[in-house]
Structures are given as structure tokens and as C-alpha cells.
Amino acid sequence: MLATLNAPISENSLQVVYEYPESLSPVVTHYCPGCTHGIAHRLLAEALDELGLREKTILVAPVGCSVFAYQYFETDGCEAAHGRAPAMATGLKRVQPDKTVVTYQGDGDLVSIGAAEILHAAARGENITTIFINNAIYGMTGGQMAPTTLPGQKTTSSPFGRNTTMTGNPIRMSELLANMDGSAYIVRRSLHDVKNIRKAKKAIITALKVQMAGLGFSMVELLSSCPTNWSIQPEKALEWIEDNMVPYFPLGDYKVRDEVNGL
């Protein structure tokens, strides 16, 4: 009813240039206002729509803020134990090689407890696609320090800023996985402005095409915001990504096999 506050539309003269993706469930997500998880969900849904993969996709949800991801996509889905999404995806893909298997993981899930699973999935060259949401913090549990937390960044478990002498340095996962012989397509993109969001969508489409062509492991790392746990406004959070995260996690293509360019 509130939508009627907008100007009425004469459908005859106008064509729809943007509407709700078919692969996204018509429910309201539980994400906080301004959380870029919503953008990442939409990009993945649009990519599935454009490639016509909706009915043959299995989404493996992680533990973390995106724990309910299987409810938000009109695809098959299942929930993995914390960090074990690549292991579950490995099994699914090997049993049903005609399906598209996508894991959607955050940085606490993928870089911390699930580091071994993702490394070995990439090393084995499992033919799966991973969407990796890097927001430099543990979102679901209340903003604790993650393996990707920047040096000096304040979190609830590092209230004076991350001390790299005591807690080590952030892990750059894309660079790490690019060194694995089994990986085919490893890129890092950001969701901090419209231009980069469009680039991210192209990368997700390419990653899914890599899986369809059976070239090996593909991953798209997306730098994301967490306005609630960073304790800043959504708009400022996007600026924070650009000012602080992008210099530490440089955007770019870390591994693109020659065959990928032909897709």
C-alpha cells in the first residue's frame, strides 16, 4: 500500500529495465540495513537467472550472517557445518556433476574455521564456485576480530585496535588460493560503489561459466560492509571499504586460466 505513494505508472509507455530477480525468494532478508550481503545475494541471483541455472543449482550455505542463505534463493540448498561448505559442495558435485554447486561463505567461515576445507578444495581443483564475502569482522556473533580484520581495526574483541604482534596479520585469501594448481578463476571485487558492483556481477557470471565448463575451482571474493559492527552509517561503511580495505586487499584478477578467457 505504501508503494502507491509513488507516482502512478502508465505501463504502456514504459518498459521494465530492472526488477526483482527470479532466483531470489520473495522474502525480506534478516540482514541489517545497508548490509552488502543483500547486494551479493542479488548479484548471484541475477547471474543464475542470466545463465538459466536456477533449477539445477545447489547452494551450500555457511555459518555466519548468511546462515539463512538457502531460504533466500529459489534454488536447492543445504546448510553445512561451520566452515565445511567446500567439503559438502565437493560431495554434492561429485555425486551430481550435472548440477551447479555454489558455496556462499563469509570471512569467519571461510578464512578461519574453514581454511583447511577451502584450501584443499582449491588444491584438488573441485569444480565448484565459492562466493566469499569479506567484511573484515565476525558479523553474526557480535563484531569480534576475524582473520581478515585490518591491523589497528577496532572490534569487540580488539577494543584498542588489532595488535598484529599478538594476533598476527590479516590473511589475503585470494592470493593464497591463486597459488593452488587446482584453481581456475580467483578474483577479488568490491561492493562499495555502483561501478564495482557491476564488475562483481560480471565476475560471478564468469565464475559460474568456469564451473559449467568444468575448468576447476572458481572463487569470487567480495569486499563487503558491516555497518552495524563497524558502528558507522551504511554510506560511510562503503567509503570505509574504499579507503581502508581496498588498499590492504587489492582488487583484481589473481588467477585466470587461459581457457577462462575463451568462455
Binding site: 529495465v17 525480506v28 540495513p33 560503489d193 551504511p234
Partner: protein, 83 residues
């Protein structure tokens, strides 16, 4: 005459305020006097001069997929003006 328009699903909107920051025509505002069912001030289109071009930039940044974008079809010569 407007070249396009948007419809904001204000019941889905969480009032994050990202779409007004990216709108090149500055026709999206947060409705400070309206609350939706979830208790947020939703984004709203205020476009009396019909400046919206239907560029869809707001839809690209929207984290909650609230925005449907319409653009005029050049092919239809007898298209009526926006109501």
C-alpha cells in the same frame, strides 16, 4: 517529460539511505514522516519535475532489492505521457 521512473517497495525498505547518495538526479529521499511495517523510514521518489531517467543506479546499490525501474520505450510512438 520523464524518461523513466522507479517504484520503491517501501514495505521491504530498511531505510539504509544508500539510494539517495547515488541518485544522479537527486530525486530519491528518505521519508522522515513515514514509517513502514518494520519501523524504518523508507526511501521515496519525489520527482515533481519528472527528472528520473530510469538509469537503475539506485536499483544496483539497493541491498534489499526494493526498487523496480521503468524506462520509456522509444519504439512506441504513441506512448502516452506519464500520468
Amino acid at each position: 517529460m520523464a524518461k523513466g521512473t522507479i517504484v520503491i517497495n517501501q514495505d521491504r525498505c530498511k531505510g539504509c539511505g544508500l539510494c539517495p547518495t547515488v541518485c544522479p538526479q537527486n530525486v530519491i529521499f528518505m521519508a522522515d514522516d513515514v514509517l513502514n511495517a518494520k519501523g524504518y523510514h523508507p526511501a521515496t521518489l519525489v520527482d515533481p519535475d519528472e527528472q528520473c531517467t530510469g538509469c537503475a543506479i539506485c536499483a544496483v546499490i539497493c541491498p534489499d532489492v526494493c526498487i523496480t525501474v521503468y524506462r520509456e520505450t522509444p519504439a512506441k510512438k504513441h506512448a502516452p505521457a506519464l500520468a
